[in-house]
């Protein structure tokens, strides 16, 4: 059974007071809190096993190496991948950049097309702008409807000019053709919570752009719902450990073995080499080829422990919990919306939305709303959420975002809703 109160007891930080008020942490989409088990795993590594991996024959090095190998196996099992397809990186951003630099930069040619969506985090948008500019490829951007859902079908495209790139926007269907070599989309929007239909996207790609690769930004999916890369139909997927109860500095790029094998390394250095001679060097096999230098060993071990914890809760239970929370929160906020107090952004159906409630208090800048809520111990994110284009799509400067996770309670949502009512009063509106 999914017992939130029991779960909360595992998270020491939830004992914190913010200016005397209990912490109401509603910013898990930015980074999640960490259970004691993960904190202990990190301390245990540094206290008892600290040594570099793949470097020595001594006992500690062998222990550290085994611990990292075990963590890799846990990640692989968690997303139903092969172990050597799991590349440890710092975070999803680094994983996405790895694909941009080590695959796209080598594979894309002039007049090829990269398709992204308006929902993308800057980390799955800016690298593609840069690579397209560099190789002379075109950037296509999938539009969204008024609830922030991707437009899959429909005709009619728009060309945007004014910057260095000429960008075409439209529905996915209208943007796909045989020139498309990569589709890079998020599985869940960090700004609006939109769950994108990756299976339908894959079908359309197969039909209209059979040679295109699919890269999924899994940063907001992997922590919150069961993820199976074989069902996803993707070629690459990146995600961050710190958004799934793991430590900062731990992240994963998953890629299909044959593609990873065909790629050149991203970073050069220790641990990624086969044979080094002064006259030339060969590369190590997967996954080491992409893991130059000493990785965040403690971070990786912590991520492995976070995965144990998530698995013990059950990913389907976590999704059910968050679906219930977002449905509950949307219901309450829509009442406020009818009264003209707030504006809510994103899908209204909990089936199509992760645990992300995005809103503005009418007449109040999101930063000001967040600042007032902070006075009551409520932590929400405000601003453009590294997604300026999607925020602008909804004709606003900034948005406030409350995001939920395994430790979030309905009581906390009630408290948020109650305190949102206080926000306009501060500005005498």
């Amino acid at each position: 059974m999914f017992d939130v109160n029991k779960i909360r007891a595992d998270f020491p930080i939830l004992e914190r007071k913010i200016g005397g008020a209990p912490l109401v942490y509603l910013d898990s989409a930015a980074t999640s809190q960490k259970p004691k088990r993960v904190l202990d795993a990190i301390a245990d590594f540094y206290t008892k096993h600290n040594a570099n991996i793949h470097r020595g024959v001594h006992t500690l090095s062998a222990e550290a190496t085994t611990m990292v190998d075990e963590a890799r196996e846990k990640v692989a099992k968690f997303i139903n991948a092969k172990t050597d397809e799991v590349i440890f990186v710092r975070n999803a951003t680094e994983g996405l950049n790895l694909v941009a630099y080590a695959w796209a930069r080598q594979s894309l040619k002039k007049n090829d097309v990269v398709v992204i969506s308006l929902l993308e985090h800057h980390s799955n948008m800016v690298p593609w702008q840069i690579i397209c500019e560099e190789v002379g490829a075109h950037l296509h951007v999938i539009e969204v409807d008024d609830e922030g859902r991707l437009l899959l079908t429909g005709t009619g495209t728009t060309q945007l000019t004014g910057g260095k790139l000429v960008v075409t926007t439209g529905s996915l269907e209208s943007l796909l053709d045989e020139r498309v070599k990569l589709v890079a989309v998020t599985a869940v929007s960090n700004v609006l919570g939109t769950i994108t239909p990756t299976e339908e996207i894959k079908k359309l790609i197969k039909k209209k752009s059979p040679s295109a690769k699919l890269l999924v930004d899994g940063a907001q999916m992997v922590p919150h719902m069961k993820t199976d890369v074989t069902k996803l139909g993707a070629d690459f997927m990146a995600f961050s450990g710190h958004k799934m109860l793991g430590p900062t500095g731990s992240g994963v790029l998953w890629g299909k073995r044959e593609i990873l094998e065909s790629m050149k390394p991203f970073l050069y250095g220790g641990d990624m080499i086969g044979e080094v001679r002064l006259t030339g060097t060969t590369w190590s096999g997967l996954p080491n080829k992409f893991e130059a230098g000493t990785p965040d060993i403690a971070g990786i071990i912590g991520l492995g422990t976070a995965i144990d914890y998530l698995t013990s809760l059950g990913m389907d239970n976590i999704r059910e919990h968050e679906k219930e929370l977002i449905g509950y929160a949307l219901g309450k906020m829509e009442k406020f919306e009818k009264k003209g107090l707030v504006e809510v952004f994103g899908p209204r159906n909990a089936d199509e939305r992760g645990g992300v409630l995005t809103f503005n208090v009418k007449g109040v800048h999101a930063h000001d709303a967040a600042q007032v809520l902070d006075k009551y111990g409520i932590a929400v994110r405000s601003g453009q959420h590294c997604g300026a284009p999607i925020v602008e799509r909804f004709k606003t400067l900034a948005m406030a975002r409350a995001s939920f996770y395994v430790y979030t309670t309905k009581g906390e949502i009630d408290f948020l809703i109650e305190k949102i009512k206080e926000v306009p009063k501060v500005f005498s509106l």
């Binding site: 000001d368 600042q371 601003g383 925020v391 900034a398």
Partner: protein
Amino acid sequence: MDYKEEIIDHYKHPRNFGDLEEPKISVRENNSSCGDMVEVCGRLTRDGRIHVLRWRGVGCAISTAAASMLSEKVVGMNREDLTGFGEKGVVELLGGEINSGRMRCATLAYRAIIKLFEQ
């Protein structure tokens, strides 16, 4: 952090809000993380002091109040005065209680005004 009455007052009734006719120097400054934008324009005296200053923009209470308060405070200052006033001066002007997350809001207009001297 509480919103002091003075901040709310400047936010709701921004001073020197508007534009100037030519000749003028103008600077536009954005806050990439929150979408705030301020455009300041002014004229300098022959000895390089701010003679008149107007500003326009969109933003939160902190960035708006800071722009409004600065638009009164900086008249008569030269580049050296303004540099000496510094971001610390802006924080004091706002009542001294700006957390690190709001520093970019607080100093948006200041950064624009400094750039007036570079035009």
